[in-house]
Symmetry: C2
Subunit: 454 residues, 2 copies
């Protein structure tokens, strides 16, 4: 039986196994899910062993364990390092899920559940492609190293330590990652650019304690108002970030790339529909695609302070908080940007309040020249697996490991994504198109198989 037949005959088994994977709430940002994280790591290692990776192991770290395995039985063939992550974002707000986040459910050709797209579903595509190649051919056509982490959603700190101490062990001719999206349904894509991500938390403290807004209102600094006033000054009327120096190192898009982006089969009307807001907005002088893929941004990810319960409470809170992130593009320096953002926010706040500024994580942007033949190979494998034209795209999200690996090993990084922009990664009703999951397994198997002849 050839591997494509094997894959076809295991559709139901694969889907059921993926559901099992999705049921474990491996939320890395919440300490209460530590045991779930550990259980997920063991689950992944077990699946790798079943796929023939006899040495699959769970490697403890200071936070969440790594899963490692390799198969080096194809002398002369290239060595690929496959990276993925088994941790997921929190599921809240829980009340907006149509079916519970950790009880995967199929509706209208889509599989719903936290992690379906980001990134358990995509990791599973590789596990099943490798299993199909091994089971149908006795051995893998290429050499492959697998590293699957549990800290992607919280900054991949342990992974970076591990990579620095295990360069020889992880060395490969190319890195392959599936943690991105396709441009649109029916348009398989290879991603050649990602934005970097810095994440901050700001605390503004006015009064030493909560005060009655009748007894004190009108004469004391209200931290909510003051935080809002600072936030309001972070963008100008052209939606440019006002942090001094923020754009200094940004590399301008070439006319050639802008043209290529414009010619992609991407529809602004689809994007509008997906967002569902009464209108769009963004930096003046750039198209929507450029704004989300190629331009740096500053976004508010959370705000809280005072009373948020039922009814009314006439309080002036002591503190108000915001979670803020900046997405970065070449050649912005994350450490430098973090300092500039902190300095700017502190400058915007009046002397009537205290400010605590924390940098929760930093991460570099990445753009590949995609001249290496492996990129062409990836496009062809996708076209065979999906039976449709594949394209090169960039993406607005961040995968710190890609940058790290690229900087460490100086090898091509090939990002083949099977999610979709409206898949709701990080939001309620996250899902993956079943067609993309099944065609993904085929495409990856073809990709690894064809790489033997590269």
């Amino acid at each position: 039986m050839d591997f494509l037949e094997y894959i076809e005959s295991h559709r139901d088994a694969n889907l059921n196994e993926l559901k099992e994977f999705l049921r474990i709430p491996s939320i890395s940002t919440k300490t209460e899910h530590r045991a779930d994280i550990a259980r997920t790591a063991r689950w992944v290692a077990d699946r790798l062993r079943e796929a023939g990776f006899a040495n699959a192991e769970v490697v403890p770290t200071k936070l969440h364990p790594l899963v490692l395995a390799d198969s080096l039985e194809a002398p002369g063939a290239p060595t690929i390092l496959f990276y993925g992550h088994y941790d997921v974002q929190p599921a809240d707000p829980l009340e907006f899920w149509t079916s519970p986040a950790f009880e995967p459910a199929v509706r209208d050709g889509k599989l719903y559940g936290r992690g379906t797209a980001d990134d358990k579903g995509q990791v599973h595509i590789h596990l099943k492609a490798l299993e199909a190649l091994r089971k149908s051919q006795g051995k893998l056509p290429i050499n492959i190293k697998v590293i699957i982490e549990g800290e992607e959603e919280v900054g991949s700190v342990s992974l970076w330590d591990f990579v620095a101490r295990n360069k020889e062990r992880l060395k490969a001719d190319a890195l392959v990652v599936s943690d991105t999206s396709m441009l649109a349904p029916g348009v398989p894509s290879v991603t050649y650019g990602l934005r970097g991500l810095n994440y901050y938390q700001v605390e503004v403290k006015g009064p030493a304690q909560d005060l009655h807004s009748g007894t004190f209102g009108g004469a004391v600094p209200n931290p909510i108002t003051i935080l809002a006033e600072a936030i309001a000054k972070l963008h100008d009327k052209n939606f440019r970030v006002t942090v001094p120096g923020f754009y200094d190192a940004v590399v301008a898009l070439s006319a050639k790339e802008r043209k290529a982006l414009r010619s992609l089969p991407w529809k602004e009307s689809d994007f509008r529909k997906m967002v569902g807001a009464p209108g769009l907005c963004g930096e003046k002088g750039f198209s929507t695609v450029e704004r989300i893929w190629c331009r740096p941004t500053l976004e508010l990810n959370g705000i809280w302070g005072g009373y948020s319960g039922e009814g009314s409470k006439t309080v002036i809170p002591s503190k108000a908080f915001a979670k803020i992130s900046t997405r970065l593009v070449p050649n912005q320096n994350p450490a430098k940007i973090a300092k500039q953002v902190e300095r700017h926010i502190r400058k915007l706040l009046p002397k009537t309040v205290h400010c605590k500024f924390e940098v929760l994580s930093t991460g570099k942007p990445w753009v590949a020249p995609f001249t290496h033949p492996i990129f062409r190979n990836a496009i062809q494998a996708l076209q065979k697996g999906f039976g449709k034209k594949a394209v090169f795209i960039r993406e607005g999200g961040s995968i710190p490991f890609v940058t790290q690996m690229h900087d460490t090993f100086k090898v091509p990084c090939v990002l083949i994504g099977f999610g979709l922009p409206d898949e709701n990664a990080h939001a309620p009703d996250e899902h993956i198109l079943l067609e993309n999951y099944f065609s993904g397994i085929k495409s990856i198997a073809i990709f690894y198989s064809d790489l033997a002849q590269i």
Copy 2:
């Protein structure tokens, strides 16, 4: 035994009974405390019966019950209507209480617990003063009607209906309320002005659902940023509220009143210390006392949207919310102000978002001319009860019932408060000075006793 001896000999018994009152979490804004509210109403009625009000009753309403009682056995003497409330504010944030909110505790001459000052402690002062008069003299020296409600912290809706339907039953020569503060420790005070209160909730909705801030950031309306930008425009650089028409009906302070306010034994340095912020701020051209007592304000009481948990979540939320209140002064019209605030906020928001604006409650301001002899009587009773000089003050908070009663019955309203500005009403570690509680019982007994000769 005269009533002052009776009061002195019941110090411990009174304090213990007050603690019992405070232990019931009668939080009117939260539906889960409905049973506690009902229990508190019964508790108050039982205490009134013990003080000789045989007809004390719990009157059900659409929301929380009223407690009613009267004693009309002093022909020729004036009739007083005493008003108080047995409901309290929520206790959150719970983690900032030194001892639990509903486990009253004495430290450094202060009794701590939710409701100690606002308003259970002050209601209890009257219950015990009336009990002392009755128990030591066999009957009360004046006619008195008692109404104690359970909706003060949520807008007193049922009370207003009740008053409209029971004017004859509630009719009196004067209204007495103890739900305010003294100017400072050792300065017993009669309050002649209160601000009105309008409370609003704003919901800003951008995207139809939460979005990934990597995939979408930079091209979609972020409701947190947009809400913050609107909030930032609600005050100008002189800290004046920018709502068009907001100040139109405001009556200017007379030179005489400004002078009287300036001569009060009130120290800005004490206020600064109490607030504990690095600095103060407020409307240009007015003193701190004027800002908190006599000027209208707009305050943010709560804000929330996106992720506020541990660590980071890269989300652009669909919605962001704010709770906003305006304090009003004569002759601002609450309904008109509510419309102006809504119109202004809607105007400040861009067309890229939806806005839901709710008016949770409205309330008129009140200022008394204090020419009626009962005000002089109150000052003298306080001076006897405390052994200290008493003063006339205004206050920044709101007691909707005072305005309502004043408008309905056109009788003097005498506000005698035993709280303190730093008592943390509506905040963690709410407390009352034991000295004020004990001297308060004496002062009120003297006040009621002396009124017989008015």
